[in-house]
Amino acid sequence: MLDIAVAYNRFKFLGDEFLTWLWFVIEQDPAVFKNADPDLTSFEIGSRMVLEKKHKKAVERITIKGEDAGLEEARVALKNGALVAELNLVYRSAQQKWQFTLKGESLNLSSLQTPKISAPESADELEARVLEKIFLYDKILQFLAKLYNTFIKLRISSRWQRREISLIKKWLDSER
């Protein structure tokens, strides 16, 4: 296995491509998500998206914020060679809601809000609450791991070059 510091820089593009692909799948083929979670109600873009376009050593960043933000500008940025670098996502499963921001280059999660749990009122309740919260973290992390595995299997397959890239390009060129 590669050294982690080397691998971080060498393959951070994979994380950005993953987020870009997620946006494409959210809009074009959301049935893919049902394979990762049969209880899934919805998986949508949330309140923030950051795109990055790299020119040699310089990086141009575009941030789009707001619950009802239009994504036209983001689509134009993608057409101009940018990739999604950070994506706020809303995941709903079995009538519960998670919202979080996923960073492409590290796959770190931030601003993660799980479904609410009641505060522990005694030491005896603490263990139950901690285990409940762990279950909620595990649920979203397992879901993301399955999606990433799906993406990686596709990304290393011949289908990526043969079919997926042209589908993504077609999606970008489609009228909205």
């Binding site: 296995m1 590669l2 982690i4 691998a7 971080y8 060498r10 393959f11 951070k12 593009f13 994979l14 994380g15 491509e17 993953f18 870009t20 993608l78 057409k79 101009n80 060679g81 990739l83 960073k103 492409g104 280059e105 590290s106 796959l107 770190n108 999660l109 931030s110 601003s111 993660l112 809000q113 609410k116 749990i117 505060a119 522990p120 030491a123 603490l126 263990e127 609450r129 901690v130 285990l131 919260k133 762990i134 973290y137 992390l141 791991a145 990433y148 595995n149 990686i152 299997k153 990304r155 290393i156 990526w160 890239i165 993504i168 390009k169 970008l172």
Partner: protein, 204 residues
């Protein structure tokens, strides 16, 4: 940010290596040995160590209070004393002037200046209380998975260093490459393809 907080950041790790049996006793001994110690009223500027999730200011790893079902729940604590360089400069100037006056000389050697600076910093470290930073950890040792509740680079680096020193286990960050290499069930042939991937251009 605590794991029970309304909003959190998580860095995911894969734990590489095997613990000596009996596992829980090995972990307990390592947590106790590397528990954070108090540095207030001491010259030490920084301390890094493990602490309890339930009571981070009084670490206690006796019994099994950090075992929650199949998970180990504890925390990394980093205590640090901070003061402005201007405060150091002020006390350095006062002390330098006092020494010059006492000795009747009109200059201090480089070594004397360094000694004064070190003494000033030591005195400030004794006076200034440390600020604790607590980062919760969930470790599923059966699945070799660990979640660290911070994305801060410095905190993650302290975690990786202390974890290796305490348990003789390596933490591998889940990043795009490691998530593919370790967690995606790729065959050796697929891993070779992974290594040769180059960025996709969606334009043109």
């Amino acid at each position: 940010m605590g794991l029970l907080s309304a909003s959190n950041s998580i860095t995911r790790y894969k734990v590489e290596g095997r613990l000596k049996a009996p596992v829980l006793e090995t972990i307990a001994a390592a947590l106790k040995k590397n528990a954070i110690g108090e540095i207030d009223e001491q010259t030490q500027e920084k301390a890094v160590g493990w602490t309890s999730f339930e009571n981070p200011y009084q670490p206690d790893f006796n019994g099994s209070n950090y075992v929650y079902g199949a998970y180990l729940v504890f925390a990394l604590r980093i205590d640090k004393k901070t003061f402005s360089p201007k405060v150091v400069k002020k006390h350095f100037m006062i002390e330098s002037a006092r020494r010059l006056s006492e000795s009747g000389r009109n200059f201090l050697s480089r070594n004397e200046k360094q000694t004064i600076k070190d003494q000033v910093i030591d005195r400030l470290n004794i006076k200034v209380p440390s600020t604790p930073h607590v980062y919760d950890i969930i470790w599923n040792f059966e699945d070799s998975v660990l979640w660290f509740f911070s994305n801060l680079k410095a905190a993650n680096e302290e975690l990786e260093t202390l974890f290796l020193r305490s348990f003789d286990l390596t933490l591998i960050r889940v990043i795009p490459y490691t998530a593919a290499h370790l967690n995606s069930g790729l065959t050796d042939a697929e891993k070779d393809i992974l290594l040769k991937l180059t960025p996709t251009h969606f334009t043109g």
